[in-house]
């Protein structure tokens, strides 16, 4: 009994033991934070504290620490990486641009904070992820209409932005009412790139130039084409947050009040904390991570999964979809999950109905076409990890003994052949014996 008890405990602990990024437990646990300077650890402590209270183990290192390494013996030591080192030209140890990208490509998450005059390395990482910072290294985003009002009349580089993305998944269900303070470099996204999303957009009046120099030529980046904060969800569902401002995460901006230019309301506390916290929840897979399990299909009235269907069979298809809540898998509820019965093009496209407990199901008739079909679920929604299921199933034509035996319309033919036979028989007898 005791043994069993231990066993059960162990099994229940297993997900926590194997704490790396996995389909069972997608939330990251161990996070490496690379800093330019340990001063950032204290100046951004609220952000780090919020992560730690949510259960993350943060490992702070200087970005040029010579003993730096992301993996040992082929195993990654961390599940997430935060780069708060906008000026670093070369990481210490074995970490370099390729290592960071490999880290992402093996399914781990990344937060990159750049700043005005960010280093080429940080820019290269961003470019590899599909985000292009303003090429002028000294450029900052300036907005003369939606800047944050401060006591000293500055150069309007501290922007109070509320151009949030409309997504409950990414920014949480609670609406962020207070503008977010941003001071840093802007970036653009390639409009054809469907993996990257603009989370915080600049206002139409913003532009990106070097505030210290005189504006001689028109700025290359203007208006709402400028993105201040972007997220990327790679095809392997690794998530990346790229911010043009390190200060966005700082205690100073977390705490400071905000008054947007031209607006009379003054908020006691900026929206930064809520914005950054919610965004980090999304980046570290505490929200918007779906999994599909138990894909089943069978003939109506049967339970086993057949190896092959026949044309015009009636079949049932079901799949269970769950969402990770940060601690456990909860049923995912939506009314727009569709299944395709696909052979080069979808022959059947049906919306699945749900039982509100995560199970999605439907039934349909196999089309009158044989071939190798697939059950395909391609579910891609803003902010959610993409679900792409396909299950191959051949569909065969009728067997020789599955056709209708006697066809009513063919009775004249049966009649004619039998009458022919009878006539021939009678004719033979008369011909041979009637002399």
């Amino acid at each position: 009994m005791a043994k069993l008890w231990i066993f059960v405990t162990l099994v229940s602990l297993l997900p926590f033991l194997g704490s790396s990024f996995s389909s069972e437990n997608p939330t990251d646990r161990r996070i490496l934070v690379l800093l330019d300077d340990f001063a950032i650890k204290s100046s951004h402590s609220i952000f780090f504290k919020s992560l730690q209270t949510r259960g993350f183990e943060l490992d702070f290192k200087l970005a040029d620490d010579p003993k730096l390494s992301l993996q040992r013996y082929g195993q990654y030591l961390y599940d997430g990486l935060i780069l708060f080192s906008p000026t670093i030209e070369r990481f210490g140890g074995s970490v370099d641009l390729a290592a960071v990208l490999d880290f992402v490509d093996s399914g781990h998450d990344l937060i990159v904070a750049a700043d005005a005059s960010a280093s080429d390395l940080i820019r290269d990482i961003a470019t590899e992820c599909g985000v292009e910072f303003d090429e002028d290294p000294a450029a900052m985003v300036i907005d003369h209409t939606s800047y944050a009002v401060s006591k000293t009349e500055g150069d309007h580089t501290l922007i109070a932005s509320d151009g949030f993305i409309q997504s409950d998944v990414i920014l949480g269900s609670k609406i962020i009412e207070v503008p977010v303070l941003f001071q840093g470099v802007g970036h653009t996204l390639n409009p054809t790139n469907n993996l990257v999303l603009k989370v915080l957009a600049a206002s139409p009046s913003a532009y990106s130039v070097n505030p210290k120099s005189k504006l001689s030529t028109p700025p290359s980046l203007t208006g709402s084409a400028i993105s201040l904060v972007s997220v990327v969800q790679a095809r392997n569902n690794a998530r990346i947050l790229i911010s043009g401002s390190l200060a966005l995460f700082s205690n100073q901006l977390f705490r400071s009040g905000v008054e947007k230019a031209g607006s009379s309301t003054k908020f006691e506390k900026s929206g930064n904390e809520q914005f950054v916290t919610e965004l980090s929840k999304w980046v570290f897979h505490e929200r918007g991570h779906l999994k599909a399990v138990n894909v089943r299909h069978n003939k109506v009235g049967e339970t086993g999964e057949p190896a092959i269907y026949r044309i015009n069979d009636d079949l049932e298809y079901s799949v269970e979809i769950y969402e990770w809540s940060g601690t456990s898998w909860v049923p995912y509820i939506a009314d727009d999950v569709q299944v395709q019965f696909y052979m080069m093009s979808p022959y059947v496209l049906k919306t699945l109905s749900t039982d509100q407990k995560g199970r999605y199901f439907t039934s349909f008739k196999v089309p009158d076409v044989y071939g190798v079909f697939q059950f395909k679920v391609e579910y891609q929604r803003l902010g959610y990890t993409s679900l792409s299921l396909s299950k191959q199933i051949p569909v065969r034509p009728f067997k020789h003994n599955e056709y209708e035996r006697f066809i009513t319309t063919a009775f004249p033919y049966y009649g004619s052949s039998f009458s022919m036979m009878a006539g021939f028989f009678i004719f033979t007898i008369t011909y041979l014996y009637n002399k």
């Binding site: 490509d105 590899e128 292009e132 092959i308 080069m344 071939g371 065969r396």
Partner: protein
């Protein structure tokens, strides 16, 4: 005195002759079997080439799952994602034959593998074909000709090329079925027996099961029947030989799933139905003629003819309407290319692309039927002395098959038996005449004619055949209907007279006649020697062809060079790699030539294979191969392809590789997808892959997959097949990665790269400027380091 002695001696000689001819036939069978074993001895007991692998796979399925499963087999591993209904699209004759042999052997506790049975099916059936040839020729010209023809057929190179051990293809059994059907037809024609007519229909059914070439039978026999009718040789025997064959044969043929309603709906079969009507009209005329007085008959003829013409016109009109209503005029592409040799190359690249569908060259006639080509005319002349129904059939057979063989190399196979039969007749007649003249001029030697001749077997056979014929002919004559034979009966009488001369040698008058026909002794002996020499050359050529030319299994290649024998086993290496290193459900794309082998040997799903039933699908693969990398990746990805297999001969000089087939891919692809244009791949009408090649050519997928890293082999990228250095030597693959290349680079397998995990932003505008600003930015960062947070 001479008569009695001769009578006794002859009966003893018949018995001896029968036993002898039995043993000769047995030896011919052994010869036919063993001459085809070179491939097993020189290489190994494997299935050859492409189609045999499919047949082998089907046979395996049959032996494992049984006949009903086979009939209903829907194969989801070929033609992905369309699949193929194997049971309904395959000629099951070969498979069922080999399956039955395997089953029989296993039930006798002889545990042979399916592969072994398949390998040896073709040699076994070539022995059967030799015996069937004997039977057919015997029906036409007697035992001697039969034995000679059987001996010739047992080693004719054309047939060997399709029936060496391991060449497990439809033709292997179909040629036997073809000859046997013809034998039964001629037998029925000679005897008028309904029993043989029924057997004939069954044999025809077996032929329909075995090979699409059955349309040759169903057109040749009506042609012969028509010929007989036109030349006034109509008889009840002809009717019995023809009518049951059409009725039963068509019913049986439509039972074969792959033929089905085609047996009554395609133009290939219309000739037989037309002749079926004509023979009934003719039969009716003869019937009326027997009933009526000559005067009344004349009136009736006018009536029947006019009515018959009307009916015929109506039928023709209906036929024309039927044919015109179908899009290809009711003819399938392959048949159209038979009638109009330029049809296929003009309209159907997929048919023209197969080398065996090309017209043959003159040397290939000499290669494939050798001296028979010279003997055939003599055989045709012999068939006219005298002309019987049977010999006219053989003449018609050779004439049509010569035409068809001129259209397609593959149909040389149909010519070979006809050439053997006629050559056998020619040889036997020649020996007959020559040995007779020797015999008559050697005083005191009456029976032992063979002493003068070198070739003992033939002469015995020849003399004996004449005698056997005289023995057998009278009873069969009695059974025949005496009323309705006119011309053929006359022939028979003539023959009988001749035979009587033979038997009653006492008749001085006839002896005198014979003496007048004889040739000079020296000339005869020299001629015999020359004929024997000719035969010896034929044997030498056949053995050479069997040993050297036609026994290579084409999946294992060999080459001799100064440092000995090289074996290229790359194909099996590649297929083994696929079967061991890829997932069971992975799809492999290659040009269709390798489809059957990939499914059979690697057990992986293929997109297209050698059963070229869906031109669009093949064109899709052809388009992908002729597209640039990115477009090709998209096409393959949409077909769920994981691996792409190309065959490349440039390193070792293997000429039938994909680069040499590439223009066909372009043509077939361009036939369906017009953005692929053949001139884009040709420089001034020339197909080249060197530095003069067009950029479309140098950037297409086939070029890239064939020559990827090729320059690393010798530093220059010299292609041994094309005999030139390749045009583009250093390039990278962005959408494919090389996963396996065989030892001699003959098969190269690539994997489709998955889509990029991230989408990159625009690359830096200019790398040099960023490098140039490196120092300044370094300085800046150093400055910043001191005060990172202002």
């Amino acid at each position: 005195m001479e008569v009695s002695e001769n009578g006794k001696g002859s009966s003893l000689r018949f018995a001896f002759g029968n036993v002898l001819s039995f043993f000769i036939l047995l030896l011919i069978g052994v010869l036919a079997f063993s001459i085809r074993l070179f491939s097993v001895i020189k290489y190994e007991s494997v299935i050859h080439e492409f189609d045999p692998y499919f047949n082998y796979r089907v046979t395996q399925f049959l032996t494992k799952k049984g006949i009903y499963e086979f009939w209903n087999w829907f194969d989801d591993r070929t033609w992905y994602p369309l699949g193929r209904v194997i049971g309904g699209t395959v000629y099951p004759g070969l498979t069922l034959t080999a399956g039955s042999i395997w089953w029989l052997l296993n039930s006798l506790n002889i545990p042979l593998t399916v592969e072994t049975v398949c390998v040896f099916t073709a040699p076994i059936f070539s022995a059967n074909a030799a015996w069937a040839t004997y039977l057919l020729t015997k029906e036409v010209k007697g035992t001697g000709a039969g034995l000679a023809a059987a001996a010739l057929l047992s080693m004719v190179p054309s047939y060997i090329s399709r029936s060496v051990a391991g060449s497990y293809d439809n033709e292997a059994v179909a040629i036997f079925a073809l000859i046997f059907t013809f034998y039964l037809y001629v037998k029925t024609l000679n005897t008028g027996s309904l029993f043989y007519a029924t057997l004939n229909a069954l044999s025809y059914f077996y032929m329909v099961c075995s090979w699409g070439g059955y349309t040759f039978i169903i057109n040749l026999i009506p042609m012969h029947v028509l010929l007989c009718i036109v030349t006034g040789r109509y008889s009840a025997r002809l009717y019995i030989a023809y009518a049951p064959l059409i009725v039963l044969g068509t019913l049986l043929a439509s039972l074969v799933p792959v033929v089905g309603f085609n047996a009554v709906m395609t133009s290939e079969h219309f000739a037989s139905f037309l002749v079926f009507i004509i023979i009934h009209v003719v039969a009716f005329v003869y019937y009326i003629k027997g009933l009526l007085s000559p005067k009344m008959f004349k009136v009736a003829v006018a009536l029947v003819l006019s009515v018959g013409m009307v009916v015929c016109c109506a039928m023709v009109a209906v036929l024309v309407a039927l044919v015109a209503s179908s899009p290809t005029m009711g003819w399938s592409g392959r048949s159209l290319s038979l009638l109009d040799p330029t049809y296929a190359s003009k309209y159907i690249p997929i048919i023209a692309s197969v080398s065996e569908h090309q017209p043959p060259t003159w040397p290939s006639y000499f290669m494939d039927i050798n001296v028979l080509a010279f003997l055939v005319p003599a055989g045709i002349i012999a068939c006219f002395l005298p002309l019987s129904d049977a010999s006219s059939f053989v003449v018609l057979y050779i004439v049509t098959s010569v035409y068809f063989s001129g259209v397609m190399v593959r149909l040389m196979l149909v010519l070979a038996p006809a050439a053997c039969i006629l050559s056998g007749i020619a040889l036997s007649e020649a020996f007959d005449v020559l040995t007779r003249s020797v015999k008559f001029q050697l005083p005191g030697v009456s029976g032992n004619s063979q002493s003068g001749a070198g070739d003992t077997t033939s002469t015995i056979a020849v003399t004996q055949s004449e005698v056997v014929k005289t023995e057998k002919q009278p009873p069969t004559d009695k059974t025949e209907d005496t009323v309705k034979e006119r011309t053929s009966r006359k022939n028979k009488k003539k023959e009988k007279e001749k035979e009587k001369e033979h038997v009653e040698k006492a008749s001085l008058k006839s002896q005198m006649q014979k003496r007048l026909l004889v040739l000079p002794l020296e000339a005869s002996i020299i001629s015999i020697l020359l004929l024997v020499l000719l035969g010896a050359f034929y044997v030498v050529h056949c053995v050479w062809a069997a040993a050297e030319a036609y026994s290579a299994p084409s999946i294992v290649l060999t080459s001799y060079s100064h440092d000995g024998l090289h074996v290229f086993d790359d194909f099996r290496e590649a297929y083994a790699w696929l079967s061991h290193n890829t997932e069971v459900d992975d799809k492999v794309a290659s040009w269709w030539d390798y489809g059957y082998q990939t499914t059979a040997m690697a057990n992986r799903t293929v997109i297209v294979d050698n059963n070229t039933w869906n031109n669009t699908h093949i064109a899709t693969v052809g388009t992908a191969m002729s597209s640039p990398e990115k477009a090709a990746w998209e096409i393959f990805n949409s077909l769920d392809v994981k691996y792409v297999l190309v065959v490349f001969g440039g390193l070792v000089g293997y000429p039938s590789d994909d680069i040499n087939k590439f223009l066909w891919m372009v043509r077939i692809g361009g036939g369906v997808f017009p953005h692929i244009k053949e001139p884009d791949y040709l420089r001034d009408g020339q197909y080249r892959i060197d530095s003069q090649a067009t950029s479309t050519m140098l950037n297409c997928l086939m070029y890239k997959l064939s020559y990827y890293r090729f320059v690393e082999t010798d530093g220059k990228g010299f292609d041994k097949v094309r005999g030139t250095e390749i045009g583009k030597k250093y390039f990278k693959l962005n959408y494919f990665e090389e996963v396996f290349t065989t030892h001699h680079w003959m098969v190269r397998i690539y994997k489709l790269k998955p889509p990029k995990n991230r989408i990159k932003g625009k690359a830096k505008k200019s790398k040099s400027s960023s490098k140039g600003s490196m120092t300044t930015s370094l300085k800046r960062s150093a400055r910043r380091k001191r005060n990172p947070w202002h």
